[in-house]
């Protein structure tokens, strides 16, 4: 294996991670499942490309504004965020499964629109996107994304989202504006997905609606659940493992996706809450895990002592 190959996998994992972190907030902390976040990635990828692709010189080639990469990232994220606001207005009042199906519809609708509108190349795709994504840019965006999310979930806003996840009606009764916090979670997750889409497009140098199908959305949600709901470090681990796993399984040739599926099932059975369900790999998180383990052991000892003394008397 040469370095560029490993680098490529790391880039893909890093890009996936951004979208996964957004979904981690929406699904893991707020309790809303989405099967349409590839749609937000697509919006980010296309708007980002529109910003950075140089203006068209030849007839037939699709031109953009030729702006620096940072504008592409900002515009792609913002566009996805704005669209998510509209989507949220009409779908966030739906309960659980219905919201999930509405997001599925949104994701597929976005893909089909891009497939059929010829402005950006339709189903043939859009070649010639500049290769601006580097290991460094992806890494920097990852770090910013993790730090922002870690602070958000620890803030009052984050706790409100967790309250919505735990017991929506009870949160409402306490006076939490449930709709508002669902909306914030949706917008943040969409912006993350949009930014991931921009980085993805500028890594592949070619974008096509097919890349943002339901399979992609499902992959993101699987990573979040695999990593463990409500855990940022779980999402990081999940993105790394599940992006690298299909590559490690290349030895199995055509059987590799079968092994991929089997591996996911085995891990979910052995760790039903995901790799890191509700736990964090941070100094405070590790302290908490240790304290809980101590409490469990103490409880066990006490029970054993009671059983022993009960046996004597």
């Amino acid at each position: 294996m040469d370095m560029t190959y490993i680098q490529g996998i790391l880039m893909l994992a890093g890009i996936n991670l951004i979208a996964v972190l957004g979904l981690c907030l929406l699904t893991g902390f707020t309790g809303l499942f989405s099967f349409g976040h590839a749609g937000f990635m697509a919006i980010g990828a296309y708007i980002g490309a529109l910003m950075t692709v140089p203006p068209s010189t030849m007839p037939g080639s699709i031109g953009g504004l030729g702006l620096p990469f940072i504008f592409g990232i900002l515009a792609g994220g913002a566009a996805a965020g704005i669209v998510s606001w509209f989507i949220g207005r009409i779908t966030l009042n739906l309960k659980g499964d219905y919201f999930c199906i509405a997001t599925l519809g949104f994701g597929e609708a976005t893909r089909l629109i891009l497939n059929n509108v010829q402005t950006f190349g339709g189903a043939r795709g859009w070649p010639g996107v500049p290769q601006y994504s580097t290991v460094l840019t992806v890494f920097v965006v990852d770090v910013i994304a993790v730090l922002f999310l870690a602070n958000l979930v620890k803030s009052r806003h984050g706790r409100n989202m967790i309250a919505v996840r735990e017991e929506e009606l009870a949160a409402q009764i306490a006076g939490v504006d449930v709709f508002r916090y669902k909306m914030i979670a949706l917008i943040v997750s969409a912006v993350y997905a949009g930014v991931a889409g921009v980085l993805f497009g500028h890594y592949m140098t070619f974008i096509q609606p097919k890349m943002f199908s339901m399979t992609k959305s499902t992959e993101l949600t699987i990573i979040v659940i695999f990593g463990g709901l409500g855990s940022i470090s779980g999402s990081v681990l999940g993105a790394l493992v599940l992006t690298a796993l299909p590559e490690l399984l290349r030895a199995f040739d055509i059987w590799r996706l079968v092994f991929y599926g089997a591996a996911v099932i085995v891990i979910m059975i052995s760790r039903p809450k995901g790799l890191m369900g509700g736990m964090e790999l941070s100094p405070a998180g590790i302290r908490k895990i240790r304290a809980e383990r101590r409490a469990r052991l103490a409880l066990k000892e006490e029970a054993a002592r009671e059983a022993a003394s009960g046996g004597r008397s």
Binding site: A163, E166, E167, L169, A170, Q172, I173, A174, G175, V176, D177, V178, F179, R180
Partner: protein
């Protein structure tokens, strides 16, 4: 204090409330009795803003209530939901503090917390325990305590005695009277019509989305039709349903 005017609420095509009007005055305990599916919970959920009415309005202290549940809580209406709905993973204490989510005055919050613990000594004993480990009755007390922590003047209670042991049912009704003693106004929805009419000042009988009777609780309790339908004190032949 609360006046509901000509309220219509539907679930899809099904009308659950068909022009309900009622008044709750300050300091009163008002009860709404009625069979399953009469629209009792729908009425409370509409007052709290969880459901949107097709027609009609809810006035609180003469002001039209906004549609957002959070604003309604802030205005001073607190809700003890059916089935309790406590945060199972949080401790009893944290659940209570959460009730004061919208309040800023730490001193007043601490005083109210003492009051709630005074009202529910059981909760004080178990304050460090996760709420999910409480018994049904204790969770009901916790839900009531949490509602009181919002410091709302009007308490909406949805079936507080649901699923509780008979002995605890009496405790819950005693507590309702004590809560009134704290200066709160209570709108109580109950299936246990006998107990509810005993504790209430006034009562409304809700049938298939309409108010069919209203009056002083003792009059309603003595009304022959009500006795027959809800209190089971006299049965005119036919199959009695327990």
């Amino acid at each position: 204090m609360l006046s509901v005017r000509d309220l219509y609420v539907s679930y899809g095509g099904i009308r659950a409330l068909k022009g309900v009007s009622l008044e709750v005055n300050k300091g009163e305990i008002v009860t709404i009795i009625g069979a399953n599916g009469a629209g009792k919970s729908t009425l409370l959920n509409t007052i709290s803003g969880f459901l949107k009415p097709q027609k009609g309005e809810v006035l609180f202290n003469g002001l039209r209530l906004g549609r957002q549940p959070a604003k309604i809580v802030k205005a001073g209406i607190c809700h003890v939901p059916e089935g309790r709905l406590v945060f199972a993973n949080l401790t009893v204490h944290d659940n209570l503090v959460l009730g004061a989510y919208l309040r800023r005055d730490r001193k007043a919050i601490a005083e109210d917390l003492d009051k709630v613990y005074g009202l529910f000594p059981r909760l004080k004993e178990r304050m460090r325990q996760p709420a999910g480990t409480l018994s049904g009755g204790e969770q009901q007390m916790l839900a009531m305590g949490r509602a009181l922590m919002t410091n709302g003047d009007l308490v909406l209670m949805d079936e507080p005695s649901l699923g509780l042991a008979p002995l605890l049912v009496q405790t819950v009704f005693d507590i309702i009277e004590e809560i009134r003693g704290l200066g709160k106004t209570i709108l109580l929805v109950e299936q246990n019509a006998f107990k509810a009419l005993h504790v209430a000042d006034r009562a409304y009988v809700l049938e298939q989305g309409r108010i069919v009777k209203e009056g002083r609780a003792c009059d309603i309790a003595n009304d022959p039709a009500v006795r027959d339908a809800y209190l089971g004190t006299k049965s005119k032949g036919g199959g009695g349903v327990a």
